[in-house]
Symmetry: C2
Subunit: 357 residues, 2 copies
Amino acid sequence: MNNDTLLRALLRQPTDYTPVWLMRQAGRYLPEYRATRERAGSFLALAKSPALAAEVTLQPLERFALDAAILFSDILTVPDAMGLGLYFADGEGPRFERPLRDEAAIRALAAPDPAGSLRYVLDAVRETRRALGGRVPLIGFSGSPFTLACYMVEGAGSDDWRALKTMLYARPELLHRILDVNARAVTEYLNAQIEAGAQAVMLFDTWGGQLSYAGYEEFSLAYSRRVLSALIRERDGRRVPSILFTKGGGAWLEAMAASGCDAVGLDWTTDAAGARRSIGQRVALQGNLDPSALFAPPERVRAEARRVLDAFGSAPGHVFNLGHGISQHTPVESVAALVDEVRTYSRSMRSTVEKKA
Amino acid sequence: MNNDTLLRALLRQPTDYTPVWLMRQAGRYLPEYRATRERAGSFLALAKSPALAAEVTLQPLERFALDAAILFSDILTVPDAMGLGLYFADGEGPRFERPLRDEAAIRALAAPDPAGSLRYVLDAVRETRRALGGRVPLIGFSGSPFTLACYMVEGAGSDDWRALKTMLYARPELLHRILDVNARAVTEYLNAQIEAGAQAVMLFDTWGGQLSYAGYEEFSLAYSRRVLSALIRERDGRRVPSILFTKGGGAWLEAMAASGCDAVGLDWTTDAAGARRSIGQRVALQGNLDPSALFAPPERVRAEARRVLDAFGSAPGHVFNLGHGISQHTPVESVAALVDEVRTYSRSMRSTVEKKA
């Protein structure tokens, strides 16, 4: 591999600079992405075409000196493969045709064979690896068991997740049954991605932060832990690092760090310096610029990037990222300034440390 | 006053049981509220009628043994009085006709005289105090300077607060100017409520939790602190306690506790036992049941209430509340079970402690 900075940083090994990638980096803020999506006809058609998925995955790498590619896919592929019928209503988020509302449907739920109905994802992994030609590592991903369950029960995104929360408090055993199936499905799905060529994997727990303090351990972290502990650890003689990200997960960082992952993702509300102090070098940390900081002019973007780098410090084990997915309204020149500043400034931080030593 | 349990708990004095009230307790989950609102014609007409506001404020007290009443009003009365034109589109949240988007409008912004355009709120305080006849204390409130600014700049609620965040990162001096005016306006508004008869006051920082870790101090807490330090401390020979609540504020609890408030409100994601340990007896704590727990059957509601009480412990200085406003979809019998369980169980916790001592 030409550039394995990301993999080394995720394993807390020294690197010349802080690697950077952006959640949703292949996305609507790029005109070339919008063009490919237009050609595909819809987001789902794009995600289900291995060739087009590989094409958009590489687009941000042509513009910016990013240190990783991330598989282009949707976080809800697994419940779609379970038969819930994923679709996107115009201008809205994801929806399921058949959300899980009755006990019979929940009892009938089964983990899909990734080689069957999720084959298009594995083909996209292989196609993207070929297209990358070893430039940077490819990150595979899945929604966490809990975050998948949120959409599976609710049928769509929600402000209050009323159907999901009603099940959680009134019939917790049903939710546990869903989470149990999801944990097995996500484990097999991520392992299949690793076997197809993913060099690191990330669990997105987008909605775990909506749980009560005790509920997060019981309904989200317990199942993410189960996935993390069953992942393939090594492939082609190299460790495959895993990242666990919970939006709004600041209260649970130490528990997340002990979950079996190699790195914890921090959202933009989290105190990066405090996280580094409390977690030490037990795991790497990823994050955590406010995605909205990219709405500022380039010089301000650079200043905010330096602030984030300073907060994490120059010890090994930081991967620069946003604290959430990049907004479709982000100016492309903000991303250029950000990626350039992370590279330049983090390199200078290290040489300052060396000079002092 | 017949029942001053709330005021004593807010000042960390011993009480026979843990007082309870619920954010948005006078609200749409009550059929009698919906009837009064129907009569008023609209939410704003209801909020702007002192007689009807007093009427709905007392409705939940007729049903449940609550230990406080909270002024019926909107959090955006202050910017409305500044001339921004508050209105509610059908089935949507609050909106402003004239959001603050240009520098001239921001320079022209001034704190309103509460005795003028906010007089209807002060009349509602007086009317409600009269109607209460000393049964329980009346809590006054305002949106925090930052939360008001969110709506003033954005013009409506938002998922990403793009206009607000763009101003914050690109033109922070303009946002500081708005926050400076808001801090003065909110201080005068809350002091006028205290002079009109509010016996405790609460600052709702609904959106502070959307800020970056550093941004919360700079754009939200600094201005809440300014308000809290300038509040009338005593009225009619009694201390007027203040409560600061930030939704998603778990990362900043110690800073909030040092802001000059008497109590910190916790949302449902916050570790209550951990908050008690880190904050000790410096301030009282209010919260923090997940509002969605009220979607469960009464026996589950009671179990969740006990879990929250146990987490806070039996030391003085806990006010039971939800971690956010009560949902309009809440069954009335859930609230009855909750309020009864808090009273009964917290009383038994204290007698157990006494027996042990």
